[in-house]
């Protein structure tokens, strides 16, 4: 079963990081990615540009309206994600806990909807 691990960060804190800290963060993510891949659990992952680069798109009366910035303004913003394979929530949680940023703001573990699962 697939889970999305959504990484949240305090953008002010992130912006205040030194080059060395940023490099270390990147390195630790590559290490995490390596471990996921080694266990065959990695599906897809990306880091995101900060929320100032976001645009919200709405369509009202066939008109496309764009707004600058993220959908929801908050102290913590989504900074990146991993989509992984895991047998159950406990395994997904164990992986999420290894993400370097879990020790900062936190990681949301969200199950990916499984269209192939049948329920009578």
């Amino acid at each position: 079963m697939k889970y999305m691990l959504l990484i949240y960060e305090d953008e002010q804190q992130a912006a205040a990081m030194s080059d060395a800290e940023r490099a270390e963060q990147l390195r630790s993510h590559f290490a995490f990615l390596g471990e996921l891949t080694m266990f065959g659990k990695h599906v897809y992952s990306e880091g995101l540009e900060p929320s100032l680069a976001s645009t919200v798109v709405r369509v009202q009366d066939s008109k496309v309206i764009t707004t600058d910035g993220p959908f929801i303004e908050s102290k913590e913003m989504m900074a990146g994600f991993y989509i992984i394979e895991a047998a159950d929530l406990d395994e997904a949680i164990a992986w999420a806990a290894k993400i370097p940023d879990a020790g900062r703001a936190g990681v949301e573990v969200r199950p990916v909807y499984d269209f192939t699962a049948m329920r009578p």
Binding site: V109, M118, P120
Partner: protein, 414 residues
Amino acid sequence: MDDVQAAVAGAYRAESGRILATLIRLLGDFDIAEEVLQDALATALARWPDEGLPANPAAWLTTVAKRRAIDHIRRRQAEQRRVEAIAPLLPTEDDMDLFDDTSSLTDDRLRLIFTCCHPALNLDAQVGLTLRTLCGLTTPEIARAFLLPEPTLAQRLVRAKRKIRAARIPYAVPPDHLLPERLTGVLAVVYLVFNEGYLASAGSALVRTALTAEAIRLGQLLHQLMPDEPEVLGLLALMLLHDARRAARAGPAGELIPLEEQDRALWDQAQITEGAGLVERALRVRRPGPYQLQAAIAALHCTAPSVADTDWPQIAALYAVLHQLTPTPIVALNRAIAIAMADGPLAGLALLDAPDLRAALESYHLYHATRADLLRRIGRREEAAVAYQAALALTTSEAERAFLQRRLTQLSGA
């Protein structure tokens, strides 16, 4: 017909947790398991009047429920084959499991309780689900016990089961490296249920015996399933020792009687002996923990012939150790009370008036009630009155309110 209904109700009470736990494992779903169990109960109500009561009603129910579960699974697999339109599935290992009647090494109730108390569920959901599935309490019963509207509780249970399904919370006993932490969570739920029944923070009833009985039942189940875990022993001991004093805690008008004034003849000695024995067994394992320490303290209270003859210095020492493990203001408060008994009210007041503790407990009614009591004992009546008033402003229990008011009146009278 009454005999049959009584027999079904009795079997449900005693065995529904166990049967449901197994059904959930077989069917992989809480709601379907519940449906199958209800179906088996309906069958019993329909057939027992004609066929007579079975020699072992619980076993009868279990067998019928399992058969229904297997039927359900066969139907489900047949549907999947139709939909998938590929070569028919050969019987899988899962099919074979069902027909294997030897009990697995793990009691399904242990799987169930760890699932209900999974940290990914919020605490209210954990409590509700545990009471519903393991204890077999109905939704209205649980709602009444926690003073909640029934639809609120029902919705809570629906959401919890949905979360278990959607997030795929595993139906399993946690692996060894996660067990200590997860067990702490389970014990916290059981103790919460016990305290809800024992303390009854709002409303006029002092003790809700149904909840304390269920909590003790859960504690005994855990003891049976995990006999070597010292904190399990500790919690069961603690609940038994508290519960042993139940008859002496409330006066005829429902007013609260504090420990010092309780009629010890009303304490359940057999239960005290049982609890004290469990404490000793737990401490021998030499893995001390908060429940064991609290139980040891309770045992010292319960085995003392009187307040004066209680080993207060030992209790104070135990609270000091407890404070190291769980440095909460409440533990500090209780330690201060013990020290007041061992070394006099002034010693206790000195601890209570420490600025950190005062700040932490400013809005806790028992803090003020305790200070009031100590001040009263040394004759500082005006300060005591102020403290009683502070406590009165904060307490939510009618029994406690009556007690504090009585003390306050006595002050001005004396």
